[in-house]
C-alpha cells in the first residue's frame, strides 16, 4: 500500500514516516503543496495523509486540485490543528475521507488508515484471529471457541484496536482517543472498566495484560 504523507513539519513528518514504515506501508513524502502535486502526477497512491497548513498553499486548496483537476481518487486523511466541527465538515466537504485533529495519537492514525484502506480493498480482511478468539469486522461479532461473546460497541472497538496492535502497549489515553470523540482526559477510569469487562466476558484475565502505570498489552 502506497501512502503519500504531506507535512511541512520535519519532526512530525519523521515520526509519521517511521511509524508508518514499521507497518510495512510504502511511504513517500512531500513537505509542501507543489512537491505533493509533483509526486501525485508521477505516482499512484492508495492514501494521502494531508496536513492543512502547508507553506505554499492551503491543504484544502490542494485537496480541491487533487479531486477536481487531477481527478485523483486516493483516500485522503486530513491532519489539522483545527478541531472545530465546522473545520471537520469543511475538510470532508472538500473531498477528504477522514479528519484527524492534532495532536493525534499515532495509534489512532494507523487505525484510521487501516479502516480506509480496508474500505477500498478488493480482498477485504474481515476476520482477525488471535489464539482461539476471532473478531469479525464486518458484523462486529466476537467468537471464542464456538461461542459468540457479546461485547458492547465500545468494548468491540477496544478489542479491535488491541488485535491490530497485538504485543504493543496501548495507554488508556490512546484507547480513549480511539473510542471517544472528545474529553479523553476523563476516560482512564472508564477504559479500566471496559478492559475489566472484556476480560470477564472472554473468560481470560491474562489476554489483556496491565502494564502498571503505562497501559495495557494484548499478548498474541
Amino acid at each position: 500500500m502506497r501512502i503519500l504523507v504531506v507535512e511541512d513539519d520535519i519532526d512530525l513528518l519523521g515520526s509519521l514516516v517511521d511509524s508508518l514504515r514499521a507497518e510495512y506501508y510504502d511511504i513517500s513524502i512531500a513537505s509542501n503543496g507543489a512537491k505533493a502535486k509533483s509526486a501525485l502526477e508521477s505516482n499512484e497512491f492508495d492514501l494521502i495523509v494531508l496536513d492543512i497548513n502547508l507553506p505554499d498553499m492551503s491543504g484544502f486548496e490542494l485537496l480541491h486540485e487533487i479531486r477536481n483537476k487531477m481527478k485523483n481518487q486516493a483516500q485522503v486523511i486530513i491532519l489539522s490543528a483545527k478541531y472545530e466541527l465546522e473545520n471537520r465538515v469543511k475538510g470532508l466537504d472538500c473531498g477528504a475521507d477522514d479528519y484527524l485533529a492534532k495532536p493525534f495519537s499515532i495509534i489512532e492514525l494507523k487505525a484510521r488508515i487501516r479502516a480506509l484502506l480496508r474500505r477500498n480493498s478488493p480482498n477485504k480482511q474481515v476476520k482477525i484471529n488471535i489464539g482461539d478468539i476471532e473478531i469479525n469486522l464486518a458484523d462486529h461479532k466476537v467468537i471464542k471457541g464456538n461461542s459468540e461473546i457479546q461485547l458492547t460497541p465500545k468494548e468491540f472497538q477496544i478489542l479491535e484496536l488491541f488485535f491490530y496492535n497485538k504485543n504493543a502497549i496501548l495507554t488508556s489515553l490512546q484507547i480513549a482517543e480511539h473510542i471517544y470523540i472528545d474529553y479523553f482526559d476523563k476516560s482512564s477510569h472508564i477504559i479500566n472498566m471496559h478492559i475489566k469487562n472484556i476480560r470477564t466476558k472472554l473468560q481470560d484475565q491474562s489476554i489483556i495484560e496491565t502494564i502498571r502505570g503505562v497501559g495495557f498489552r494484548l499478548n498474541g
Partner: protein, 447 residues
Amino acid sequence: MKISTKISLFYLLSTIILTLFTSVTIYISFTKDLNDMVDEHLSEDTNQIKYLLDSNISNYAALKHLLFEEYWLSIAKNGQTVYLSDTAKLIPIQSSQIVDKTTLKVETNFINFTGNNDVFFRIHTKKFSDGTCVTLAIAMDDNIRENYKKIAIVTLATLIIISIFVYFLISLLLKPIKNISLTLRKLNEEKFNIGFTKDTDDEIGFLVESINLTFEKLRSHFVYQKNFLTVMSHELKTPLSVIKNHIELAIENEQVPLDVKQRFANDLEQISKLNQLIHRLLLLTRLEEKTVTPNFIKFNLSEFSDELCQFFSDLSESQNKTFKFELASNIYITGDRDLLYRAIFNILDNAIKYSPEASEIRFSLEQSSDSLVTLKVIDSAPAINQNIIKTAENSMFATSAYDKDGIRSGIGMRIIMGILKLHNLQYNIESNSSGNTFSVFIAQASN
C-alpha cells in the same frame, strides 16, 4: 443632576442676581431724582402760598380757592395751626407733629397715611421769618412703584422662559454625548465593534473623533489578542503531535525500561490535558467574541442525553459514585448539537467530578409543559462559588474565578453559560450544603 439642568439653573441664578443689582441701582437713582424734583416743586409752591398769604392777610378762605386743592396744606403761626386744607383734614395727622418737626431748614419727608387706601405724601415744610410755617405735601403717584413690580414680574417670567429654552438648547447640544453614553453601554455585547459619526466640528466632534480613535486601538488590541490565542493554539498542536508521537514510539519500544514508560504515559496524559485546555480556551474565546456560528438543527434530545448517560454511568461507576437518570422519551429540540453536547457534558462532568465518593448524581429530562423541557442535574458536590457564576454570567473582561480550594476554575462554567446564552436558554442554579441543582429550560421543537 443633568449638566443641562445645572447650566440652566446657573444661568437663571446669575441672571437674577445681575438683574436685581441693576434694578435696585436704577430704582434708587430714579427715586432720588424724582424726590428732588418734587421737593423743588413743593418749595416753589410754598413760596407762592406765602406770597398769596401776604397779599390776602388772614384770608385763609381765599386760599381754599386759590391754592391747589390736591395739596395737603397746613399753615401755622407761632406754633398754632391756623389753616388746614380739606385734604389735610381728611388725613389724621396731628398738625402739631408737623409743626414741631419744622425748622428753618427745609425738611422733606413722607407722610404715610394708612387707611383703606395707602397714600404716600411727599411733605415739605418751610418756616418763614415772620413765624409763618407752611407745610405742603403732595400725594405721590404709586404708578412708579407698580410699574417696578410689573417690570420685576415680567423680567422674572422672561428669565424662567429663557432658562427653559436654554435647558432644551443645552439638552440638544449635549444629545451627542447622551448618544455616546448609550452606545458605550452596549460595549459588553458589541465588543468595540462600534463607532460614532462625527456630525460637528465643535468640542463634541473632537470628543467623538478621540473615542473612535480609542475604540480603533482597543479593537486592534482585541483582534490581536484573539488571533494570538488562536494562532498560538494551532501552532502548539504540531509540536504537541511530534512530542506525542515520540512518546508513543518510546512506549512501544521494548528496550525502554518500564519506569521510563510510566513517566512517558504520564506525559501523554499531560499533553492530553494541555490539548483539552487549548480546546476549551479556543471555544471560550469564540463564544465570548461571538464568532461561533451555531448550526441549529432539530434533534432528539432524549437519544442525545441517553448517549451522555452511558458515558457518565461508566464514569460514575469507575469512581464509585451512583449515577441515576430518568429521561422523557422522544423530546425534540432545536439547537447546535455539538455545542449543547459540550455544555451538558460540562454540567454532568462537574457534577460527578466534585461529588464525593459513594454519593449520588441524578440527571433528568422532564417535560414541564407542552412546549417546555427541563433538563436537571442534581449533585452532592460542595456549593458552587457564587463568584464563579457571576464571573461566568458577565464574562467580558472577567478574569478567571476560582473557588476557595482553587480547584474549580471558571472556564468550564463560562463555556456552559456562553453556550446557553447562544441558545437563549434560561437556567437556574440552586446551591446549598447538600449539593447543587442545575436546571436548564429548553423549548421543545414543533413537530
